[in-house]
């Protein structure tokens, strides 16, 4: 598709030229090095160990046994309890992402159309949930949502309900807590892509006869898909892998993959099964994101997502 514009004049390169280019490439690689080192040593290698350990047998004394086995994967995939937890994790991730898009887009649109001091204050306001500790914020929700919390208290006193509603320790409360922390990521990435849309493109659409409503759906929304995608990847993967929020707002009633992993590794001390669960989560998250990006790219060509 892009081969036509990539054609450049073939200028013969002298040996000193290729040397220079090689040096330039090396310099650029050097910039990448610090991040690469951290990435390899603190992400790739541990992930590799996780992968390897997930095929080891369980040893009640040492945790990780000596011989190889597939039993952890078999156990996970054949037990509906585990599969339900996996499905719940993905479901919570998808719902959180979807609602985040819905509530973030109008905010992002508003921010991208404001300027100066107003814009700075708005951005700060949006980022404020990130400034508070995850645990404190979650206990804040507990105070609001629990059986004798503020919401139930008010509803009981007003006589709207007879007995307290179960809001806390449900998927709803987990999703609520997740959206609260993660929607700033969505807002900021959508703001970024909305800002990249040239105002003359919007004017061109108006000029050709599209009212503001049609212009939004034909031009603005498709051109902001990359931002929606970037935000979705962040929100989904952070939700699927989060531990504190589901642990506090969901508890044992709403078990998610990270909680399951924690249980196996820290409570039952079955490290290989914990590793297998952790690895399945990484795999499923990656697959979900890839499928999502394929769907978005297929829906609108010409806009580079990724």
């Amino acid at each position: 598709m892009s081969s036509k514009i990539m054609t450049q004049k073939n200028v013969p390169l002298t040996t000193s030229d290729t040397g220079k280019i090689r040096k330039k490439r090396r310099d650029i690689l050097l910039l990448l090095l610090p991040t690469l080192v951290i990435f390899i040593f603190f992400f790739l290698i541990p992930l590799l160990f996780l992968f390897i350990n997930s095929f080891k047998t369980f040893d009640p004394i040492l945790g990780i046994g000596e011989s190889w086995t597939l039993e952890h994967y078999k156990k996970f995939l054949s037990d509906t309890f585990y599969l339900n937890v996996l499905w719940r994790t993905i479901k919570i991730g998808l719902i959180t992402t979807f609602i985040s898009i819905l509530i973030s887009y109008p905010v992002a649109y508003y921010i991208s159309h404001s300027s100066g001091r107003k814009r700075n204050y708005l951005t700060l306001l949006i980022l404020s949930p990130l400034l508070i500790s995850m645990v404190i914020r979650c206990y804040g929700w507990v105070i609001l949502l629990s059986k004798n919390g503020l919401i139930n208290d008010t509803l009981l006193r007003l006589g709207i309900v007879d007995k307290p509603l179960t809001i806390l320790y449900t998927e709803f409360s987990v999703i609520l807590g997740m959206i609260h922390v993660l929607f700033p990521y969505m807002v900021l990435s959508i703001v970024g892509s909305l800002e990249r849309i040239d105002s003359s493109i919007i004017n061109a659409s108006r000029n050709l006869g599209a009212n503001p409503f049609k212009t939004f759906f034909a031009i603005t929304l498709p051109l902001s898909l990359p931002g929606i995608f970037a935000g979705s990847v962040m929100v989904f993967s952070l939700t699927a892998s989060s531990f504190v929020t589901p642990a506090i707002l969901g508890g044992p009633q709403v078990k998610v993959m990270s909680y399951l992993t924690y249980e196996q590794v820290a409570v039952i001390l079955n490290w290989p099964l914990g590793a297998a669960i952790g690895f399945i989560l990484v795999l499923i998250s990656t697959i979900t994101i890839v499928v999502y990006s394929k769907l978005l790219t297929a829906s609108k060509k010409g806009v580079a997502i990724q």
Binding site: D198, N203, A204, S205, N211, K214, G302
Partner: protein, 359 residues
């Protein structure tokens, strides 16, 4: 008679008038340029016609019907933007058919009209390309096709050539004029490039500080500028400061640069100051005194070879004059820098701007 009329249009930004009671009549099929320096209000005026900016006073009418209160999508004006503003996520065909789809034109007619429009701009076969796969000139053509295919009331071009390189710019401007004449569409062309405006326009509106200084044919704008601004903005000009020594109602005796000459048709008070202009190509150089023309002794300070012509910088007293003389007329090799020559011209090559005469 007028097709598009601006009636005392005003635009304010932060209490400052950037367009000041601007009035203009444009005939059907005419190509008018808005020419002026940046900040003169030309693009602002264009945006008011397109509807992207509200007018703060006055009216805009097409065939006698006011349009200035309509939103842009109801005005049916075709605009080509400076950066083309093609929709990056749509193919050439989708870009060009965008306006027609909104007009609920049937599929087969859309197809036919887009095809015609793309043929007109020489882009047949590019329907499935995306804008990023096209060169600047091709993007420009798509933008033009997209604007014309909706058969707009007026075609608005906002510095459409400024992003192209010099050669392509000249080619595109010829194509734009050709297409404009063929379609017969009333067109407003905004530019800051005087050569461009002179080359393509039926009439030029020279704008400065939110006002039209002069609206006229390219020839008249160049040869009979009506204000000091126009004479200086269009082409190059030598400016001479003079004093009126005496006047008899038909002609005045004017003292300029240490000597005096008579100038017909200038009738202003004795002792008052007057500014005179002369184009560089109107000044001639002679090695001897010429009695039949206005003649100044000068020193040839520098000469610059410019291909078909040579530019001579002449020093007369404390002033410098620029003279452009064709090399076939005068061989530059016969004149040495530093030598004494005579700068001569006819009195009717001089012009004053009418505003100065009035004041």
């Amino acid at each position: 008679m007028a097709y598009l009329q601006l009636k005392g249009v005003v635009k304010k930004f932060n209490q400052v008038d950037v367009v000041k009671r601007l009035s203009l009549d444009i005939k059907k099929g005419e190509l008018i340029s808005f020419l002026g320096p940046s900040g003169c209000g030309k693009t602002t005026t264009l945006n008011m016609i397109a509807g992207f900016l509200d007018v703060d006073g006055g009216a805009i009418e097409v065939e006698g019907k006011p349009v200035h209160l309509l939103p842009p999508h109801k005005r049916n004006m075709g605009m080509v933007f400076q950066n083309y503003a093609l929709f990056p996520h749509m193919t050439v065909f989708e870009n060009a058919s965008y306006g027609l789809k909104l007009r609920k034109v049937t599929k087969s007619e859309i197809h036919q009209r887009v095809q015609e429009a793309l043929e007109m701009v020489n882009l047949e076969g590019y329907e499935k390309r995306y804008p990023k796969e096209l060169s600047g000139g091709q993007q420009q053509r798509v933008a033009l096709a997209r604007a014309l295919v909706i058969r707009p009331l007026v075609l608005l071009l906002d510095e459409p050539l400024s992003n192209l390189d010099a050669k392509l710019r000249q080619k595109m401007r010829e194509e734009i004029v050709e297409i404009q004449k063929r379609v017969g569409i009333t067109t407003i062309f905004v530019t800051h490039d005087q050569e461009e405006a002179l080359a393509i326009s039926d009439r030029i509106a020279v704008m400065n500080k939110g006002k039209i200084e002069q609206i006229d044919t390219p020839e008249n704008i160049y040869n009979n500028p009506q204000s000091a601004f126009v004479s200086q903005f269009i082409g190059e000009v030598n400016q001479l400061e003079g004093t009126v020594l005496e006047t008899n109602g038909h002609a005045s005796n004017i003292r300029v640069l240490g000597s005096s000459f008579s100038l017909p048709e200038v009738n202003i008070g004795k002792g008052s100051n007057i500014t005179l202009f002369i184009r560089p190509e109107r000044i001639r150089i002679s090695k001897t005194i010429r009695e039949d023309q206005i003649c100044y002794e000068s020193t040839l300070e520098r000469k610059m070879f410019l291909g078909s012509k040579t530019r001579y910088i002449l020093k007369v007293e404390n002033a410098r004059l620029i003279a452009d003389i064709g090399n076939s007329e005068l061989d530059p090799a016969t004149l040495k820098e530093g030598s004494t020559v005579y700068a001569t011209w006819y009195s009717n090559d001089l012009f004053t701007s009418s505003k100065e005469v009035v004041s």
